[in-house]
C-alpha cells in the first residue's frame, strides 16, 4: 500500500530537489554566463551575476581561432564509434553472463570492473608505445578503440543488469521454436531490452564525450576532440576565463542538448533494477 504524502511534505521534497538540482547545475550556468562577459567582468570582485553588458565577442574570437567543426566531428566520431563498438562486443558477453552463467561469472564481472580501479596513467606509457608501433597515434580509430575498451566493463555491467530482468523462459521458447543463437539475440533479446540498451548507449556516449585523459594524451592535430578544444583555451599565465567559458559552453552544448532530450531514458536506465 502506498504511503500517503502530505502536501507540506511534497512542497519540502520539491524544494529540496530543486535546491540540489540548482546546486549541481550552478557551475554550468556560471560557465555559460561568463562566456557572455568581457574578460574584465569575468574576474570582477564581487562577481557580477546577471546584470552586465552581454557580449558575443568571446564566441567570435573562439570560432575565428579554432576549427570548431573539426573538433566536434572528432568528438562525434570517437564517442559514437566507441559506444557502438562497445555495444557490439558487450551484447553477446552480457547475454552469456545473464543466461548461461558459469561458476566464475560473478568473478569475471568483478574482475572486469576492477580494471576501472586502475589509474589510467598507470598504463599510459605501454599504450602510447603500442600506438606508436601500430601507427594509431593521433587517429580517430585508435582513440575509438581505447575508449571502447575503457567503457566496456560499464557497458557489460549495465546490459547484464537489464538482461537479468528478462525472463529466460522467453528465450527458451524462442529456441524451442527453432531460433538460432543469432536470431535469439537479434530478434528476441534485443527488442525486449531496447530501453536498457538505449540508456546504456546514452550513458556511454556521454562518458566517451567527456573523457579527457586519453583524448588529450593520444591526439595531436588530426584526431583531437572537444576536450582538446577546451584545453587549448586554458592558461596559467593570462586571464582568459571568458574565452575559456565560451569554448567550454560550445563543447558541452551538444551533449547537454542530447541529455536534455533523453533524460527520461537515462533516468529509467540508471534506476532499472534498483527497486525490486
Amino acid at each position: 500500500m502506498a504511503r500517503a504524502v502530505t502536501t507540506q511534505r511534497k512542497i519540502i521534497n520539491t524544494a529540496a530537489a530543486w535546491a540540489v538540482g540548482l546546486l549541481i547545475f550552478f557551475p554550468i550556468l556560471w560557465t555559460v554566463l561568463t562566456s557572455f562577459k568581457t574578460e574584465a567582468t569575468a574576474i570582477a570582485d564581487p562577481p557580477v551575476f546577471l546584470f552586465f553588458d552581454w557580449t558575443f565577442e568571446n564566441y567570435k574570437v573562439v570560432t575565428e581561432r579554432s576549427d570548431y567543426a573539426r573538433f566536434l566531428w572528432n568528438s562525434i566520431f570517437i564517442a559514437g564509434g566507441s559506444t557502438l563498438l562497445g555495444i557490439l562486443v558487450a551484447v553477446p558477453a552480457a547475454w552469456s553472463m545473464a543466461f548461461v552463467p558459469s561458476r566464475r561469472t560473478k568473478d569475471i564481472l568483478l574482475w572486469m570492473l576492477s580494471t576501472k580501479m586502475l589509474p589510467a596513467v598507470g598504463v599510459l606509457y605501454p599504450i602510447y608505445l603500442l600506438f606508436i608501433k601500430m601507427g594509431l597515434l593521433d587517429s580517430r580509430l585508435g582513440l575509438t578503440l581505447v575508449l571502447m575498451l575503457i567503457n566496456l566493463p560499464i557497458i557489460i555491467w549495465m546490459l547484464y543488469t537489464y538482461f537479468r530482468e528478462i525472463p529466460g523462459e522467453i528465450l527458451e521458447a524462442a529456441r524451442m521454436d527453432g531460433a538460432t543463437l543469432r536470431s535469439e539475440i537479434l530478434f528476441v533479446l534485443i527488442p525486449l531490452a531496447v530501453p536498457g540498451i538505449a540508456s546504456t548507449l546514452l550513458l556511454n556516449f556521454i562518458l566517451a564525450w567527456n573523457e579527457a585523459f586519453w583524448t588529450l594524451n593520444l591526439t595531436a592535430a588530426k584526431a583531437a576532440p572537444l576536450t582538446a578544444f577546451i584545453a587549448s583555451y586554458s592558461s596559467p599565465e593570462g586571464l582568459f576565463y571568458a574565452k575559456l567559458s565560451a569554448a567550454s559552453t560550445m563543447a558541452i552544448a551538444p551533449i547537454l542538448i542530447l541529455g536534455w532530450f533523453s533524460q527520461k531514458q537515462l533516468v529509467r536506465g540508471l534506476t532499472f533494477g534498483a527497486v525490486k
Binding site: T38, E39, A40, I43, A44, D45, R65, L124, Y125, Y128, L129, I132, L137, D138, L216, N217, A220, A221, K222, A224, A228, A231, S232, Y233, S234, S235, P236, E237, G238, L239, F240
Partner: protein
Amino acid sequence: MKQNTSLSLVSVAAILAATAVHAETTITIATVNNGDMIRMQGLTDDFTAQNPDIKLEWVTLEENVLRQRVTQDIAAKGGQFDVMTIGTYEVPIWGAQDWLVSLNDLPDEWDADDILPAIRGGLTVDGELYAAPFYGESSMVMYRTDLMEQAGLEMPEAPSWGFIKEAAAAMTDKDNGIYGICLRGKAGWGENMAFLTAMSNSFGARWFDENWRPQFDSEQWATTLNTYMDLMNNYGPPGASTNGFNENLSLFQQGKCGMWIDATVAASFVTNPTDSTVADKVGFALAADAGLGKRGNWLWAWSLAIPTGSDATEEAKKFVAWATSKEYTALVAANEGWANVPPGTRTSLYENPEYAKVPFAAMTLNSINSADPTAPTVDPVPYTGVQFVAIPEFAGIATQVGQEFSAALAGQQTVEEALAKAQILTAEEMEAAGY
C-alpha cells in the same frame, strides 16, 4: 590504340610530376596558450606566403598539459610534433639527451649573436643552440604609484627586501581591501617554487651544495622563508596559499595589491586599460635584494625547438627561423603595435627607439640581464637555472617542496617543520636518483 596508351602514360606522368612539385609538407607545432603565441598563429599567413609548400598545423594546450604531452612524445619518440614550445628548464636536459635538433645552422640573417646573452646561454648545451627563444621574461616588482605616493615613499629602481617590507606595511589597508603585497603561494615547481627559489638566491641560499647535498637546513633558506611568511601573513591577501599568477593578476588589476612581484610579461596586462582598473598607476622596479649581490628575479624563455623524431626538420627550421626573427618582430609591431612585440629575446629590440617608448621595456631588459643561470646565487652551485635546477628530478622534488611551503603559508605547519620536511624528501629523492 598504342598511341592512346602512350599519351595516357605521358599524362599520368605529368600529373604525378606536377603533384610532386606542389607536394605540401605539414609541420605540427605544439604551443602554449598565451597572448604572444596566439598572436603568432594569427600572423602565419606571412610565413605560408613565403613558403607555400609548407602547411602549419597547431596543437595549443595549457602549459602543464603541453609539458606532459611533449615530454611523453619526445621520450617515446612518438614523432607527433615537428616544432615544440618548451622552456629553459627542458632545453638543457633534452639537449644533453640528444632529443633536440641543433639550431647552430640557422641562416646567418637570423643573427644568433643578436639573442640576449643570458637567454642564449640558457638554451645552449656544449656550444649547440637547441632552441630559438620566442619570448623571454624575468620577474620584477610591479607597484601602485598612487598608493606609494600616499604612503610618502618612493620606490627605488633596485629595492631591498627591507624596503619592500616597509612599503608593504605602509600600503596595506585591509579595511578597504588593499593588501601591501601579493606573491605566489600556490604549490608547484613553476608556481610558488619559481618565486621562492629566485627569492632564496638573493639571500644566498642554494638548492644543493657542490656535492649535491640539499641545503634546506641552511640559515639562508630559513631567512628566505621567514621573510616570505612575514610579508604574506602580515600584508598579503587572505587565502594566498592558493594564489598563482592568474589569481594575483586578477587582484592587482582590481586594485587590491600595493605591490606584486612576478613575471615581467604581466606588465603588458596590468597596464592594459581594457582589463586593468589601475592601468595608469603602475610603476616598475627590479626584484628585491638583500645586499649580497644577487637579486630575487628569475629568467625564463618560451622557445621553439625541433625534436630529433621529426621527419620534416628542414621545414621546421624554416618556421623556427621565421617565428623568432627580427622580421617577425617588425611584423607584429606593424600589425599590433610595439607594446605587443614578444619581449626579452633580442638586443636589437631594446636598441629600437620605438620600443624604448614602451613603459616596461627598460625594466624588463635590466631584469633579464641581472639574472645569470650559470651562477644563480652567491655561492657556487653544481647546476644551472635561476628559479629551477636543470635536472630531470627537479620538477617532482620542487612540487613536493612547494606543497610543504604552501602548507606553512596556510598555517598548517611551521616554517621549521616545512624546511625539515623539504630537506628530508629532497635528500631521499636525490639518493634514489643516484646523486
